[in-house]
Symmetry: C2
Subunit: 347 residues, 2 copies
């Protein structure tokens, strides 16, 4: 079968790889129908030090082809959503909904695990990993599939920003960043009842428009202290209850901490790059810093009904479609900001 | 009247100062009966750059002598607890229980406010600041008064560590530090239902004994990675759900972050000194950092009944009594670790 392999130095290609087979009785084989390219795939693509050659991709959905003898929750023909990490579903952390810390879990495309930008993948711990959306050969159309594909990572990551900050009805929420995760964080904040969502630091006109579609009530194009001033002019002087930091830079964190109300929360969900916080900047105002790597598997159950019944439509975060054969073009377009986020149509 | 004045360079003295008078209709005058010396008083005492001369002290209790025309919640003869900051009781932050961020509030001993290690003090915003424990001239004995005096700062600060970490029944909680705040944090964690409280980094035999009295189930005398190892040997390998950081040093924070369970919380309540956190150390394990300056006023109502009915007795955190005339000796003893925390008997 064909799968995307990262070869180092800004190079990915669609290579012939071995067909996946059941290795453990808890495995399933999934025929992949749609896949996404994530911002973190791009870090690998740009990172001269990343391991290569290596299978890549961790946002994928598709149909179960085969299951091991101990798999109980899915069967061949089920259409499933695959979170960006696999997890056993039974350990201390899985039981508390923090599947990203599963003691037996792992990332796709590392060591012996397959990855998601290919025609199929072996899924370890199928019962603890897969979430069934449709049974018996039923499947969504491409538009709805895009929305469901966001649950593998990008939407549930944005949702983690809002959920870990405990966004609740009545809150004024600022979202810093207008990338794919930031857009999903805005939609999640609205879904959780935020009264007013302000997108700060959004400087691209096309993204402004998407931000409004994803739930922003107000757009603030400035960054840093100017963004704080503009936000306060919108709220009548009250700092936001929650600030969702969706950039991951030192400047963005500093703005978030400077912007949030006393007693408020700054949550972040992207891997921070070179960000350190002086705890004294939090102390007097009792600011909480929370978030981290989203337990996507935990949130899928909570948000799946909202996608299926159309209350939210995060699918448009995928701004361009590519055939699997064009995977190199998809990476190149995303790397050069010609598209926010590619969706790969595998079959 | 007499009050303690800080003169710089490790020097405090009991000086003659003007008697307090009602300046605003929301003021009250309190005759001080007991006062405490706080660790943060010691920072001032040791800080060559602190403003001097300046009134000092912010842990005090006593009897209302006089009230302004608009004061409704207390009257002369009431025995009151005075939180370590005054607050108006009506602003956005006071209404949400974060009186330390009161827009009209302030610290004792700054600008025009009196301080607590003296015979009396003018209390601004009496309705928003004072908490009545007894009416009509009733008062506690000295032992119970010590417990109530802790509510002005040290106990409610330890309580903030436990409360902001959302300590709940069943939790395994580690408390780093065996100072007065750490001791109170242990007691607060137990009060909130913690299943197991482990005091880490306690190296003084006399403090070990106090820690057991304040609710520690286990004592770990090591620091750093050795403390983490010892804690894991106690819990059978599970990291603590919550770690209450009660030292405020870079090493202590690093240990706390290294010790806590994935999905867990590190809370801190002392002003951190030179502590910066690399957010990446929090990311993969979804560690929350919270806490800050305790809204003592908010917590007094919650814990006052437990002190009055004897469920908890935080009074022994004051390890030695001094007459007000001996205030300089009290500071010197605390500075040289001859006592953990002095209690000043004013009258």
């Amino acid at each position: 079968m064909k799968a995307t392999v990262y070869h180092g130095n800004h190079t990915v290609s669609l290579d012939e790889v071995p067909d996946p087979v059941i290795q453990h009785p808890t495995d399933a084989i999934v025929d992949i129908e749609y896949a996404g390219v994530c911002g973190s795939d791009l870090w690998t693509y740009r990172d001269q030090g990343a391991a290569a050659p290596n299978r890549i991709g961790h946002e994928f959905v598709g149909t179960v082809r085969e299951i091991g003898s101990e798999v109980r929750s899915v069967k061949p023909g089920d259409w499933v959503i695959v979170p960006f990490r696999y997890s056993d579903g039974t350990c201390r952390f899985c039981r508390q909904g923090l599947e990203t810390s599963c003691v037996n879990g792992g990332f796709w495309g590392r060591e012996t695990a397959d990855a998601g930008q290919g025609q199929a993948a072996r899924v370890p711990f199928a019962d603890g990993t897969l979430v069934k959306a449709y049974a018996d050969g039923h499947r969504p159309d491409e538009s709805l599939a895009a929305g469901l594909l966001t649950l593998t990572d990008v939407f549930t990551t944005g949702y983690h920003a809002a959920a870990s900050a405990h966004v609740q009805p009545g809150d004024v929420v600022a979202v810093i960043g207008d990338g794919a995760v930031g857009l999903c964080a805005m939609m999640a904040a609205k879904l959780l009842g935020a009264d007013c969502v302000i997108n700060a630091g959004s400087t691209h006109a096309d993204r402004n428009e998407l931000a409004l579609r994803f739930g922003a009530d107000q757009i603030v194009t400035e960054r840093g202290d100017d963004a704080v001033k503009h936000v306060l002019s919108i709220t009548g002087g009250d700092r936001p209850d929650k600030v969702l930091e969706c950039v991951g830079s030192a400047q963005s964190f500093a703005t978030a901490i400077h912007m949030v109300a006393p007693g408020g929360t700054v949550s972040y969900v992207g891997l921070p790059h070179g960000v350190s916080i002086d705890v004294r900047d939090l102390f007097y105002s009792n600011i909480t810093v929370t978030g981290g790597m989203s337990p996507a598997r935990h949130y899928i159950a909570a948000v799946l009904p909202a996608v299926l019944d159309g209350r939210i439509d995060p699918g448009p975060v995928y701004t361009k479609r590519y055939a699997l054969a064009d995977i190199a073009q998809a990476y190149d377009d995303m790397d050069n900001r010609r598209t926010i986020k590619p969706m790969i149509v595998v079959r």
